[in-house]
Each structure stands twice: as C-alpha cells, then as structure tokens.
Symmetry: C2
Subunit: 417 residues, 2 copies
C-alpha cells in the first residue's frame, strides 16, 4: 500500500468509528458542536488571519492570478461570514430521524423508512478556505463524518479553520474524528480518496471543471457532482416583454461567473419584441453571439459559431438563437444543455407546463431568473453544491442530500411462509 | 472506437431518443404497453419454449450444472408466471409526476420537487431469462428506457421474450427502442456498457457475486447493486423463546439461497434458552458452527473459524456466537455485517429501539424473520433488486428507486437581487 493509501485508510477507519459514535448523538449535541465551532472560529481570528497571510504570501511568490488570490483571501469580514454560516447550519432542522413513509402489511409487519446519515463524506476542493468550515458544518449537522482535502495553496488557512472547528466538536463531546483534514499536500492523497470504496461513502468535489472531471473519471467511490451549467432561457411567443427583458438581463448579467447564469437565449420566432430584448442585453454590457436570424436584429451582434451553443462562458457573453416554437426550443436544450437550469418565459400556461414536463433539467423554471439556482434561494438554508447527476440528489443539495434512509420493520414474531 | 463501444453508443443514442419520447406518454399508455406485452408473451409460447429448448441443448452440450440448467429452463408454468409478473407491474401505481414536496418562498416563487424517470437504465444479468421481462417491465413502467444484456447461455430465450415485449411496446404506440436487448454475446459489450457515461444513467447488475464485483470495479456509470447478505439475528436477553426459535429457523432454513437468509446468529449470554434454540436449528437440518461458549450447548456443534463470521453461506450452515449485551451484538454486526438485513428478537422495547437506531443496515427488523427482505413483502409490488449501497436507494428497490426528481420553480417575473 502506498503512503497516501495508508494515510487515507487510517483516516477512513477513524471516520467510520466517529460516524458510528455520531449515530448515538442527539440533535441538540450536533447543533451545539457547530455553535461552539462558530465561537472558536471567532476566537481564533488572529491565528486564522495569520495563517491566511502565510498562504497569501506563498501564493504571491508562486505568481497566482488576482482571481485566485481573491478566492484564497480571508479578512475580518470574511471570517465573520464563515462563522455566521456555521451558526446558520447549526440552526437548520436536522433531517436525521424523519419518517419518510410508513405502511402496515396484511401480516401485521409495520414498515417505515427513516432518514439516516449517508456515512463518511469526502470533500475535495480548491482554493476557497471557507469550504473547510461550510462543508464540515453541513456534513456534521446531518450526522456524517467528513474527510476534507483542500487545495495546497490554502493549507495553512485550512488547518487553522479546521482546528477551530475541531475545538467546537470536542467541546460538545462529539467524536474528535468526526471532522478530519488531509494534512499533506501530496496530490496522491486525492487519488487514494477516490478509490477508497468501503471507507468513504461519497465524494463531493467542489471546484473548477478540471477538478470535477478528474474526480468523475477516477472515482470508484460514488460522487455527487456538478459539471456544467449551460443554462437556457426560452422566450416564448406569448412572453411578456418587460418580464423577458428583466429575466434575461438578470439571468445573464447579475453575476456572470455563477453556475446558474444563463449561457444561451432562445427566442421564439413569433415573439413580438426580439430587438428590444437583445439590445437590453447589449446595453447591459453583454456580447451577443447570434445565429443568422438574430444577426438581423442589431448590427452589434456577432455571428455565433457551432461551439457557442455548447459553451459555458461564465462571462458577459451570450449565444442567442431563434427557434420555431417550444418543441424546437426543447430540442435545442436536449442537444446542447447540461441538465442544470432551464427557463421558459411565457404567459401561456399550457406551453409553460409542456416545457416543465419535457425539459430534462435538474431545475426547470417558469417566469423567473435562472440565477435563483441556489440552495439558499430554494429555502434549503445552505448548499453543499448543485448536482447535475441524476442519482441520489438533483439540483441544489443541502442537509437532506447528505442523508439516506434505512427500512425499519417492526413485528411480533412473524415468519415468512 | 471498438465494435462493442460503437454498438453500445448506437443503442445508447436510440435509448436516449426513446426516453425523451416516453416523457410525453401518459400513465395509461405505459400501463397498456405492459398489458399488451403480457398478451404477446402468452401468444408467443411456442416460439419462446422452442428458443429455450435450443438454449437448454447448447447448455447441456457445454456441460452446465443442474442448478444452472434449472435457472435457464422455461416451461409453460414459468412462462405464465413471467407474463403474470409483467401484468402485475402494469397495474402498479406510476410514481412519475408525484409531487415530493412544495414550498412558497417570501418572493412568491413556488418550488416543487416532482418525480421523474431516471433515464436510460442498463441491466446486466446472468442465466435467468425471466429478468428480460421483469426488468424491462419495471424500467418502462417508471418511464425509463432500458438496455438489457443477459447471459450468453440464455441468448435465444432472451431474444424471444424481448420480441414479445417489444411487440407490446409498439402496439401501445410507444417508442420501439424503449426496450433494447444487446444481441451479441461478446463480453466486451458489458465493458462498453460499464463505461457508457452520458449514454446510460445507471447500471443494475443482477446475478452472482463475481458479476456484481466486476461491475462495481469497472463501472464509471453509477450503479445500484447488491453485494453480500451477511445477515445477523440477535437474540436478546429478554427474547421470547418461541419467537426466537420460530424466527431463527425461518430466517435460516425457509430458503437458504436467498439474500435475506440469516448467516450469523448472535445469542445474548443472558438469554434463558440458548440450548433449545441451537437444537431447533440442528433438528431442522442446519450445520451449526459455534464459538467456544456455543460449543458447550450441544455436541453436534462444530467449532467456528475466523472466516465463518464473514461468510455468506447461502446454504444450511449458520455461524453462532454468544455476545454480552446489545452493544457487543452491534459491534459484531459493525465488524462483520454487510449492511443488508439485521434482526433483533427481544421483548424489551428500549433495547429494540437502540438496536434499530444503531444498526447501520439497509433493513433493520424487530421480532421478524430476515427472509421478509423482499420488495413484494415490503408492499412495493415488485423488486428490481436489494441495494446494499448507501446512495440513491437502499434495501428493496422497485419503481420509486428507478426515478429521480426535478425541481420546478414557478414565478411571475422574479429576478434575483
């Protein structure tokens, strides 16, 4: 066994033991551990900011981009936000123990499905050190043990945040290894996590496309991942022009770098005000790449190439196509979409319901901006990610997505004939 | 691309197109397709039995064991059972379209989670040709497209059953490729299915441990699988001796080859009638392998070796250990169990609830035989398998386990601030 595999095996065993102990812990105790962790995060401000300074200095020496430095940086305000987020998770309702359904069989057996934690969760992430606190809080709140593996550039910050979280866990009397941090920056440790079937129950990658792709390709452990957000907004024939403009501009321009941003705009050829719509986007600072029909709407529009329909820009650029009715819109989405968030804007309820039924997306919206694709906006209280896979959990994932269920069968001595 | 990869890619594309068409099909139409399929199965009796005869002859020439020949064989009675099972699935309630939950946000957005089919399901199975009808029926009833790959020894029988199923599908006006059968017996086709991410959404292996293990090791597509059923029955201190005997003998001996059979019996050291319990098992024809304390109960008991605690016998053999209280029983199950079905027999409700909470099994039972571990007995109407994994679905899996959900967001023009 390699050194990395040995390390992950040891951590996995400790996590499994901690998970077993967590099964006997009350909701109040899990909540108290996170409240205490938030307190320790605030009390450790000097230590955490100093650790982050060391990470920032090495990162600057290594010539990291401004965008990466910004993701890495923690100041007083950001640390307070991290602590507040942990407190928020402490106050969310605990899904563990919920009875999903119940039935009584003719032979008197009573069957219940009861929500239980998933088990040992591995989180593999990149430069944002807040994930250390966020992900640990969500995993622990739902009764899971967690193994965290952050980016090497954030190792000092992650250690300092992890120490504060662990202090909260221990103060509340929970198993110390309920949260563990991979302390080595050796990349082989990631590979060992991805192959740790039987020790790690699920891996959640959080980061850019190359990280998620590597995890998807290499993992033998089940994963919960978000790959692309090639999100469409279809403006139907009977769309209200004011809503169409407001929704399209917000969906594209509110924040262009988030996974819920619109990347392709589909305009029905019978929609009455396509010119005003694309001009509103251009005026908001967006580059519009259109097909031949769209090009005629404004001379500032550039010609879209084939690759544009399959591109997640995460930038102020939008691909725009004219389509002939909802069926063609659905066909375009089936061919080019990424099953993340797709939107119809229309005042025609029948057409909206058809779109809702047929679009094979984790999130389908009617008359709303795709930028609402976020666990907080969905009322989940938090979010560990948005799943574009089809199994287990789809769309925004928070506490419930980190649980599974067990069947409980209560009898009075029944045997099977 | 290899020939097998090309074949599976083509089949996957046809399946995806069929899946898209199924989204527009009514519940009644899906049900009617299965009723028609059952009719065609009965009408094709001569063809199917003749095809099965050809499989049986080749199998005998190749020297297959009697047990394998029995699994392969179809007679009139078995064909009628296959048709009746398809009819039964036709009459089950359709889970697709169910609203799982619904909430309204302060900004007026209404969020619903709606049950939708999983997508394209791959089934990889061995010699039992009834799986061709069973699995196709369950997949189709829940709106999925399915790609079937059965054992080479059953290829003629599978083709004949598949033709009858397809006739039903086409008669009801559904997409012909909603059900497809891999017509080649080339083993490389299995490998291609396991790697068909993006084309096949989930693989369900049905067969012996070596098949399931291969699928688990090689698949990059998510899988829903049942590996071991090392099931424990713990007889608590306060167990009723009559219930203890009835449950233990039924759990072990009703059918020894099923995945819900008891493999290990744990007896509390303070249980009052351990001798009668093990004698009842021996008298029922079971070999008892005991630890030192158990050996003293009867001279016919043989000494258990370390491997016995981790063995799924699927035979009239049971490993028996004395344990000191429920905590030690839970520890034994955590160390040696396979998270399938574990049982406590006791009249002490508090101890039973502790066991139910702590045992990390897909199915936990109190005062009932583990042989009830079966989708039909759970009221699911059918079963595509029992999942021992933790993600997506756990325990018996039927129609609901072949679905996922989408989020539907209904707005009136909301944009995100």
């Amino acid at each position: 066994m390699t050194e990395s595999a040995q390390l992950i095996t040891d951590m996995g065993r400790k996590a499994r033991a901690a998970f077993t102990m967590l099964a006997g812990v009350s909701d109040a105790q899990k909540s108290e551990a996170l409240t205490a962790a938030a307190r320790h995060l605030r009390a450790s401000q000097a230590t955490i900011l100093a650790a982050n300074q060391r990470d920032m200095e090495s990162a600057r020496e290594r010539g990291l981009s401004d965008a990466m430095l910004d993701r890495l940086m923690i100041d007083e305000g950001r640390l307070e936000a991290i602590a507040a987020a942990v407190e928020n998770v402490a106050n969310l309702p605990d899904p563990v123990g919920q009875i999903i359904d119940r039935s009584e069989r003719p032979n008197g057996l009573v069957m219940e499905r009861i929500r239980v934690p998933l088990g040992v969760i591995g989180i593999i992430y990149e430069s944002r050190p807040n994930v250390t606190a966020d992900a640990a809080a969500l995993a622990l709140r739902s009764g899971n043990a967690v193994i965290l593996r952050g980016g090497s550039e954030a190792i000092e910050s992650n250690r300092a945040i992890f120490d504060a979280m662990t202090a909260g866990v221990v103060e509340a009397g929970l198993a110390e290894h309920a949260i563990q941090l991979v302390q080595t920056t050796d990349r082989a440790a990631v590979g060992a996590m991805l192959k740790a079937s039987g020790l790690i129950d699920i891996i959640i990658p959080r980061g850019g496309k190359s990280l998620v792709k590597r995890v998807q390709d290499e993992a033998s452990v089940p994963i919960l991942a978000h790959l692309d957000g090639i999100n469409h907004t279809y403006i139907g024939k009977d769309a209200d022009p004011d809503k169409a403009i407001a929704i399209a501009v917000n969906a594209k321009m509110r924040r262009t770098g988030v996974c819920g941003a619109m990347e392709t705009l589909l305009i029905d050829q019978d929609y009455r005000a396509p010119g005003a719509l694309v001009r509103a986007l251009i005026d908001a600072g967006c580059e519009v790449r259109g097909d031949d029909a769209v090009l005629e709407l404004d001379e500032r529009i550039v010609s879209a190439e084939a690759a544009d329909w399959d591109t997640e820009y995460l930038a102020p650029i939008v691909a725009v196509a004219m389509v002939n009715g909802v069926d063609q819109a659905l066909e375009h989405i089936a061919d080019h979409g990424s099953h993340h968030t797709d939107v119809i804007v229309t005042e025609d309820t029948a057409i909206a319901e058809k779109f809702i039924q047929r679009a094979d997306s984790a999130i389908v919206m009617h008359n709303a901006s795709s930028q609402f694709a976020d666990g907080g906006e969905f009322g989940l209280g938090a979010e560990i990610g948005i799943s574009t896979g089809r199994m287990h959990a789809r769309g925004p994932v928070a506490l419930e997505g980190l649980t599974t269920y067990k069947w409980v069968v209560r009898g009075t001595g029944q045997v099977r004939p």
